[in-house]
Symmetry: C2
Subunit: 428 residues, 2 copies
Amino acid sequence: MKIPPVKGTRDFYPPEMAVRNFIIDGWKAASLRNGFEEYDGPIFEYLKMYQVKSGDEIVEQLFSLTDRGGRELAIRPEITPTLARMVNQQINSLARPIKWFSVPRLCRAERPQKGRLREFFQWNVDIIGVDDVPADAEVIFCAVDYFRQVGLTSEDIVVKISSREMLAAVLRVIGVADDQLERLYVVLDKRNKVPADAFEAMLEEVLSDESQRSKVIDLMAVKSIGQISELLKLSDAAQKAVDKLERLFDLLETMQIADYCAFDMTIVRGLAYYTGIVFEIYDKAGELRAIGGGGRYDNLLNQFGGPSIPATGFGIGDCVLGLVLAEKGLLEGRLAGCVTDYFVVCADERFFSRTIEVTARLRRAGFAAGFSYKKAKLGKQLKQTSAQRAKECIIIGQEFSDKNQLVVKDMTTGEQRVVDYEEFFAGL
Amino acid sequence: MKIPPVKGTRDFYPPEMAVRNFIIDGWKAASLRNGFEEYDGPIFEYLKMYQVKSGDEIVEQLFSLTDRGGRELAIRPEITPTLARMVNQQINSLARPIKWFSVPRLCRAERPQKGRLREFFQWNVDIIGVDDVPADAEVIFCAVDYFRQVGLTSEDIVVKISSREMLAAVLRVIGVADDQLERLYVVLDKRNKVPADAFEAMLEEVLSDESQRSKVIDLMAVKSIGQISELLKLSDAAQKAVDKLERLFDLLETMQIADYCAFDMTIVRGLAYYTGIVFEIYDKAGELRAIGGGGRYDNLLNQFGGPSIPATGFGIGDCVLGLVLAEKGLLEGRLAGCVTDYFVVCADERFFSRTIEVTARLRRAGFAAGFSYKKAKLGKQLKQTSAQRAKECIIIGQEFSDKNQLVVKDMTTGEQRVVDYEEFFAGL
């Protein structure tokens, strides 16, 4: 019986696994350097966990299941609800600020396409317990720190930043009612993702007032923070939110990552739970969907039954990022292959057991050692040694049988030496 | 709204995550040292993938789901079927022997208890394309190599070894029909897991002939390979299988891991697909269920629509192993904590932005650097520096403002030096 893989999933053969490990190892290193500790949760949670605040798009894309006890579960489509649950559970014992990261495997039943799969890995970085702009700056810095370390420059990547707090305040100035905001965010989030006429049609469904719609369209066309106050007379709340955004950009300058960052009025985010600064990360070539995104979500812990605690963070997936890294040639020569310290060559079938003995002893001593299962000719085994890029080759032949000596060949210089068996191991 | 975690799953807070990383990093290192390459598959596959050859117990414990396209899927309860599918898909391009490892997250709807959870990680190591005993010896060596490296000695751990090929041949000598074998394996696997009378009742259900039953009971009480031929006159097939087992033990001796290994007639394995040598790994204290197990499965690739290719491997879970490591005190002092190279202390609120500047610059230079969000007193921040076990502390104070100088304190010696800002970074 031949069973295919499920559409939208990936098989990680060793070459693809090496790419995944390269990406994830880089994420982990950047997280630790920036002072974040690793956590993880279960692969599934109660279904209702994702029906609270994730937004309609995510709810539609859930892989849900009912277990034998009748519990309604779902494979996690994101880890933020789990983070909120975990922090709430230990809220009294966790030292703040909580600076955590995770690299969960997530599943969403999306239509598979370039850079979008039904199963992917997502780097999540969050700071919980700091309500001030430096925390937003620090998570953005952490993402950029990764990009820079991996060789993606400000020519390749842009972090587009705005603020939902500012947007809400400005929309209120325009006259949009509070209960329209959440639906409006979903529409505004689509502004750069659908044609202009489709966007305007969606907008009309939420805002019946034409003058409001026209102001919103003008607002979304703003190119700098300064232009907002040129367009409208700001309320105190709007001015405060604008000031915060400006302070954020000052900090990004201080951190010397301003070249990676740009204000972008159209950044709103699809998820329902954002409350303040929001951002999305794109490759500048601009052919692909977002590499990642994040922002401030000050109410989420409270909505999951905990206290009111401010929080900010981001998620970056491995699919689009992997495409960008490959396109820019940044994977070449950087993937960890199979490292072999010693390849043990069996010069004659009679010595097969001794070959295994030496290989096992090398491994016990902590070295990566290989040998050939096939009783191949010496020349063929030496080729195998080169193919495995072994540093040294140990030949088990007549010298071993007669005088307990190993023939050790340096695969770089080609030099060969004869060493006593015990002396060799004593010298390792 | 407060939502609990799902029963039988785990939340990995940073301390639990450190244990998980310690275990998995050790598995990966042992795998690479032994010449295995990493692979992985999707978290779910088509449901029927597990209905083919996994055995009834696994099928009952599946977390199955139907996606929106009506596909019947299941979260993977094991990775071997995925391995078979992946190898079959690229059978003509993969160089043999295929030596692969993986550390999949697996889910089984078992009744949660000590060392048994509904979600766990399992180290899988397999050799595909070698039909000879050295491959079985090599996978067993790889497991023991991990145990030894992590500090679990032959006083702590035993690998109990038998052979289904031998068992089948001997059962045929006793007169058991071929079509009874598979059901009989399931019963024999329970021999040490249920009381003697329950075992005999189960046996009676499969074998109606009392004299056969009594011979099977005698056979299962055998304590050494030699005793088998004392009990019964072996067929050629049985003798061949016994010889193979003896060759395996010779090789384990050659590899110097015989002290970890013991013949055990009662090892049969629950999974349906094993065909030759089988083994289970236990802690010698014997309070816990198996740490892991494995064996030869020469027909599985063929059963999944591929060619006939021999294969052997094992799986070791993280739950029981974690309990054993904790019991033996082998986790103490070995878990990677949050490493901080530099903690940047802000001596006065006016310098907060400069504190962030220096922290960001350290991180850009590849160092793990921390700072305090709270505008705390100098003494409190120094305490925080100690708490984070930072190697050095950098104080941003008046010297920085006046003369562009950093005060750098070595947290081990307590020594303090004043360095020019640019000189400090040039010297890193």
